[in-house]
């Protein structure tokens, strides 16, 4: 039983780190800051949550604290990326050339 939990936890942690890897690949491949923030936020949120969940399964004593960490990440991650994107738009960081529309500049 203990062993099963440990293996399940390890697999979930691995899946989480794959998402984190894809997120960092997105940071390199995307053409402008807004698209980079997009891939960064989404992948890091689920990646970190899955990694923490895997750790919680391996060390069941830590479950309460890890649950707190997950909630904290779920609340703060979108807020921080929103603020970064807003600041980028405020200093007129350009959108990539293939962008189709920018309603925020028009108003």
């Amino acid at each position: 039983m203990e062993n099963t939990l440990e293996i399940t936890g390890a697999i979930i942690t691995l899946i989480g780190s794959i998402f984190l890897f894809l997120g960092s690949l997105g940071l390199v491949r995307m053409p402008d800051i807004y698209n980079r923030i997009q891939t960064g936020t989404k992948a890091s949120t689920l990646g970190t949550i899955l990694t923490l969940l895997g750790i919680a399964l391996m060390n069941t004593d830590w479950f309460g604290k890890i649950l707190l960490l997950m909630i904290f990440i779920l609340i703060t991650n979108p807020v921080s990326s929103h603020v970064l994107a807003r600041a980028a738009h405020y200093i007129k960081s350009p959108l990539t050339k293939i962008s189709v529309t920018d309603k925020l500049v028009d108003n």
Binding site: F19, L22, G23, L25, G26, R29, M30, P31, D32, Y34, N35, I37, Q38, T39, T41, K42, A43, T45, L46, G47, D61, W62, F63, G64, K65, L67, L68, I75, N77, P78, V79, S81, H82, A85, R86, H89, L95, T96, I98, S99, V100, T101, D102, K103, L104, V105, N107
Partner: protein, 164 residues
């Protein structure tokens, strides 16, 4: 004095304290209650963030549904990101679109904006009154009504019941 705000912040602080300690001994509970009451009183005497939350069975039921929809959207958005990043031609068509929301309360709008950020291909950039400006990685329609229908409404109908 606002009993509803005080009690919600007390419950949040107390649950955080208990999770952080990870035991239910009497000394933990007593010190937790004292600290939570004090902190809730000092910092939430005049706050009105939680005023619009409704405590009806329907709101609770909708909260559960909303939570599951949110998790599904989060997982979908990760596969969406993975697909775009791994495709060699980088299939993106980005742009900033404008959408509007019917939500009135502060906390409802906060949660809507955060949910939009975590769902496939959208990122909230700016909010002016009832208008949200959203960076969309794959702009399908830049008309305000169509964009609202595709981005906002799947969350809005649940948040409207919970927060108004």
């Amino acid at each position: 004095m606002n009993i509803k705000n005080l009690s919600i912040s007390f419950i949040i602080l107390m649950v955080t304290w208990l999770l952080l300690n990870g035991n239910l001994e009497i000394i933990t509970i007593i010190s937790g209650i004292i600290i939570s009451v004090l902190l809730a009183y000092i910092f939430c005497k005049k706050c009105d963030v939680f005023s619009n939350i409704k405590f009806t069975p329907k709101a609770f039921f909708y909260f559960i549904i909303y939570f599951f929809i949110f998790i599904v959207e989060l997982i979908k958005s990760n596969f969406d990101v993975a697909r775009r990043v791994l495709t060699p031609s980088l299939p993106i068509k980005p742009g900033i679109v404008e959408v509007k929301t019917k939500l009135k309360s502060k906390i409802g709008r906060i949660i809507l904006a955060n949910s939009i950020t975590l769902t496939p291909g959208t990122l909230t950039i700016e909010m002016k009154e009832d208008r949200l400006y959203i960076h969309w990685i794959d702009v399908r329609n830049d008309d305000i009504n169509e964009a609202t229908k595709q981005i906002v409404q799947k969350f809005e109908k649940y948040l409207e019941v919970i927060y108004g």
